[in-house]
Symmetry: C2
Subunit: 461 residues, 2 copies
Amino acid sequence: VGIEGPSMKTEVPGPRSRELLKDLTELQNTEAVQFFCNYEESQGNYLVDVDGNRMLDLYTQIASIPIGYNHPALIKVLQNPHNVSTFVNRPALGCLPPESFPQNLNETLLSVAPKGLRQVQTMACGSCANENAFKAACIWYRNKERGTTEPTKEELESCMINQNPGSPDLTILSFMGGFHGRTFGCLATTHSKAIHKLDIPTFDWPMAPFPKLKYPLDEFEKENTQEENRCLEEVEDLIVKYRKRGKNVAAIIVEPIQSEGGDNHASNEFFRKLRDISKKHGTAFVCDEVQTGGGGTGKFWAHEHWGLDDPADIVTFSKKLLSGGYFYKDVLRPIGGYRIFNTWLGDPSKNLLLSEVLKVIRAENLIDNVNRSGKILLNGLLDLQARYPHVLSKTRGKGTFCSVDAPDEASRNKLVLKMRNKGVVLGGCGDKSIRLRPALVFQEHHAHLFLNLFNDILADF
Amino acid sequence: VGIEGPSMKTEVPGPRSRELLKDLTELQNTEAVQFFCNYEESQGNYLVDVDGNRMLDLYTQIASIPIGYNHPALIKVLQNPHNVSTFVNRPALGCLPPESFPQNLNETLLSVAPKGLRQVQTMACGSCANENAFKAACIWYRNKERGTTEPTKEELESCMINQNPGSPDLTILSFMGGFHGRTFGCLATTHSKAIHKLDIPTFDWPMAPFPKLKYPLDEFEKENTQEENRCLEEVEDLIVKYRKRGKNVAAIIVEPIQSEGGDNHASNEFFRKLRDISKKHGTAFVCDEVQTGGGGTGKFWAHEHWGLDDPADIVTFSKKLLSGGYFYKDVLRPIGGYRIFNTWLGDPSKNLLLSEVLKVIRAENLIDNVNRSGKILLNGLLDLQARYPHVLSKTRGKGTFCSVDAPDEASRNKLVLKMRNKGVVLGGCGDKSIRLRPALVFQEHHAHLFLNLFNDILADF
Ligand code: FES
């Protein structure tokens, strides 16, 4: 309402940001801090910093803001006196849920449940979502192996001292370039950047190559299919090889688009075949939609693009859904209490906000909006790539979940900084990619605005 | 205000709770659910359920409610229009912190920083607090080993495929009976109940026996010192043994009172010696105050009881501090961005509430209150134990952080249920212990009330 575009007063970070950075650096490592924000003044697609700069935000707090800053529907949630109690009394959800919990789940998360999944476990972030998805898969897998849900005395005793058979040598198969979080379980399946993993002990779990496709995808179908088949063969080989070593694969985890790892896409056919492999080998198929879920790819879940009736056994989420969790097949529901558990198991106050987010997505047809704006973004980027082929390459995307490569890391970082000083917040991913992650309220005119400013920068680059 | 005591209308769970349980059981495993709550009607030390039963709460959402339900100071936070933006715009704190972040940290977490620690890393729960504490310890340890913070090319490459030397065989030493969370890293150091660990792959990390003391502690000083020395010797032996196997111990993690594991205490001398061992062997000393932190033991941090000038290298927290994190020594601060990182890194809206919690703790002298109420609880339990020696044993506690043992698990559970139907919510821990975890606003008259009701139950038991 009334916001016409970016408005820049200083370079970013400006003097106030630099001052605050000094203060914060007294208390912790701040090397990832970009600038300080004035969230009260931020609005819709515009992020305002502490020096009064207003920037069009295509990064949205690492893809985690669903409907823009200070959306009136969310402000109303806070103004409703009936909601106060949910914010000030955080329950131990697994023991003492609030009265509204079952109905809220039905009206929010279950209303967007992925195909074939009717069970949901709430968690607080993407990492605990994935960690607990792995645990659920391992429990299920061991029950299959032992043919009963009743553990032996030996299992109960050995697990207490981290030994077989109670602590089995199960593994989770992941892909090179994948990112699934940074806690120890997640980190063992994350292979996007060395700096995430360096010096941290980990598991000997199998990792398969993820297809390195040539873009545009439709021009290189044959080569890409070959590359995908090579990776799928490797997946099967790894499952067999690890099984022979007594390290059965309990689950495969994959992102529909590898995001932190560089926005690496694969064909729907690839995922359909991967799903088949998981079934053939009796391993759970975990689809990590922490970054892709919530509408940015032009469908609520990115895996809907695959066109499968039975796309996954577990789908994990967080970010745009405001807190974490996972949907799962009935067979993956653990028997017995306290197997999948922690103190808070999520946060009903986030669920209250999610309820409004989902209403806004429906009322304002935001998925359609994403598809419209996404088309402009993608075509615009292809156009810029044609005009500046020495700078841009590999334009790709679904919905507004688009990206493009710079020649190298240094020039990618330079482009991101130049754009920021022009009033556009972008994110990097992989070695040299720029990723666009606008909110679902990012409209066609915002796309044009971004493309114009990007063109200005590229013309001088 | 005006609440005179428990008020029971039905047995618990009542008909409405049972109805809701049916609904929720459609969507997830609910075997740990006790009953459903009406948080809006709950007040101070009283938890109200959906059947209108009002119960004195000595469990407080697994020890996570600091100043009771619906405290007016917290409600005011929600009513202040200036705070709305903090609740509706959750930032990626590590990249784009809000303007108020440095000052808020100084006024909240840093104002209660444990002795010797001036750095703080916010996280969202106790599990990510501990997971990242382990990571910080491992990074620090490897830098010591390599003599530089610059990794080799081989390290950078090998960590990407989960191999040595980039993914080193470092270990975290923990104690039998300890509980540090349920994500994969935490779970490898948790040894309280088999059901937490069964079927989940884990690490070969050393675990030492935790002293099994005789209570009351002052009557068995000699035996207890012997037992503690035995455990401390085992700690040193394990560090040496694992080092010989190429699995250096990067950190020792310990709770000041093992909570989930059965409220197992050890002497201040034990912890002082353990601290010395960690220094002697160059391993980080991580004190897990997730359950003990925040005042319940009669000091803000339980480790303050040890009387050390340099009690720990890292102190982790969550629960009563409303979100997670850890304080750490300057030397444990990682060099380089994105080593300790995730999307949200906590939640400033929880920090806003914490700010009020700390003000209330100071204004109402709640730590003094804990000591007063705690004395009544402990003496009252000792008295009941003397009167019902066939039922109660091993009364122990610090502040209101008290517990007592039943003869076995079945009678413990029966006592907890009987008390619930009398209007008192209690928790179990270990095999047969009852733990008291009231909020900091639990007063002397609440202690008397609890003791009277407990006496009634015990007289009939
Ligand atoms: S691990 Fe998810 S909130 Fe802590």
